[in-house]
Amino acid sequence: MKKRSAAVAVFAAAALVLSGCSAAQSESGDHKITFMGWGSDTEIAVFEDMIAQYEDKFPEVTVEYITVPAADFQTKLQTMIASNNTPDVFYLAPENVMPFADSGIIADLSAYVDDNELFEADNVWAKALDMYRYDGTTPGVGASYGLPKDIGPFALAYNKDLFDAAGITAPDPEDPWTWDEFIAAAKTLTTGSGDAKVYGSAPFSLESAVWSNGADWLNADHTEVTVTDPAFVEALQWVADLSLVEGVVPTSEEESSLPSFQRFMEGKTAMMGVGPWNQGGFWADASFAWDLMPWPVSPATNERAIWYGGIGFAVSDKSDDKEDASNLAAFLAFNEDAQRTNMEQGQAIPNLIDMTQDEYLTSDKLPANKQEFIRIIEDYGRRATQTYTYNSEWFGLFNSNLASVWTGEQTADEYTASVTEEMQGMLDEGIAEQAK
């Protein structure tokens, strides 16, 4: 009998050890918070440095920094949420704000944004903060559920040397080219063949074309798919025809063989959409002069349009140390040294408006027209349509065979007609999900 109870004890001890793993952490006197993100090696090094600074400033807090490859991040995060092990601070994509807020996963930071010792909300780009707002029905307004890691305006860059050689002058920032002027210029810039081929432009931003043509993927309250709207179809076909008819853009096979970024770097593409994160690469490797210009406008509206993106920091609603976690998020988002480092490495535009004005815009590095990034942030930039919906599967479906339009297998008309019904079904599922 004694022996049996010994065996039971061993068994029980083993079970205790197994279950005890997770409980052990919170017993230490220090506040311990976890932070999960992804990034390139340089970015991770910047973050490690920032975290060390944070720990100096708040000595009672220890931060555990978990890095995950970007592709695995969402999977890992969901697993951690499911096992009630959500990191205290983590990267938040704008499209996750609604489902995460509704499910009580991310904390409402509104009070913290209004009153804290680390930053002034007035000194942060309003659109960067708005990306993580949600009032329970509409994204972009209401309570704050995240602080911006950065805001990424997507601007049109051009190779100044190629422009000069072709005798083309870039348009004035306030007086953009029309689509026709853009095509005319791109035709002049497209030269050579084979390995020496130079294209006038990289594939044109579909968002810019669609929005500038007065269309969108969804209607204004994001409940109906509107890709069969003639203005949408026209814009999609226009983008496809830049390659198929005009021949001023690489074909989709060429694009997959050698992405435009590399073509542009090699001086084989004259215009390409870029974000602030591309600046560092250009500073290091571009052997030509370059600058930014406004996005060409459709005759339908004469309005410039393009997207801006970004990633934020969220705080777990279940965090034991919300104050410390919020401080860490704010520190990572707005710490001046880190913002300056990112700016100097050409990774991002500072989140802080005064630093952007005093240090970024006055720097003598390229592009000369840095203001174009700012115009997009403050004036004509938009959030991507799919960040307004509960899930973006409808958008994934739209993209799944878009290449058949780029290759000319289907016209824009045929393609949009073939996907609209299924897209609507997926959008409806998302709407039903939100209503739950």
């Binding site: 022996k3 969402q74 599967e393 799944s400």
Partner: protein
Amino acid sequence: MTTAGRVRIRRVQDMQRRERMWGLLFVTPIGLQVLLFCIVPIGIAIVAGFTNWNVIRGTYDFIGLDNFVEFLTDKYFWIAAGNTIYMLIPIPFYLFFGILFALGSHRGTPGNKVFRILYFLPYISSIVAVVVMWKWLFNYQYGLVNQGLAAIGIQGPDWLGDPAWIKTTIVIMIVWKMIGITSIYVLASLNNIPDVYYEAARLDGAGPVRMFFRITLPMLSPAIFFLTIVGIIGSLQTFVEVQLFTSDGGRNYSAATITYYIWQKAFVSNELGLAFATACFFALAILGVTLIQFRLSRRWVYEGE
């Protein structure tokens, strides 16, 4: 019965009990492992397959067979099922080349050890590194494959982008990757064939071709059977190649497999219940295929005397 006899019986019983207890104690670690990492997860998966579990919200309701109806009526599931069956194509190819290579590097061949190491390299190389390399080889404009084809006047296809070719690319890569490990297994069983069979056959006047078909092949059949079973299961579970070669399973889902479908449902669309239901169904299907193979194997696998 005498008292002494009773005591002896008692002792024997005590001994047996003690032994049983210690035995139980020794199997506890592995038992726990099986329980925690096999039985419990499988149980959860089966139960969750009948719910609409949403991980993010942490809510679930039992919804009966709805999940099964949903994926069985989902056209993407059937596209994925078709692609999964397509992934069986590599098996006969790598079995054929694996046997050929094994015969080539068997015993007498000079430098056979070098060959064995070379064969094995693809199998132990990191799949990510391999795919990155293959993406360059099969690059439409700058890849070695298309440049080689261009040299003999053929315009190569867009191996990675064209929905009609992406699966072929994956199949070729799997064949290349699996030949090595296949030939190692075959080589091991080749070395186990006793020479006496060949000596006897030679005395009876059999030629090399006849000896191959009458002795070598039958003696290799257990290894081939094993490789077929493992190969079919492996092929049906193709996932990493799809994820690394394509984004979102390829244009029009052209390369997505069932495992990819399950992963997508679980971690992209957040429909964990649906993913579990599909996984359970798929597990049963694989089990069924494997049982059929065992049944058929009686006809062609040499089990020894």
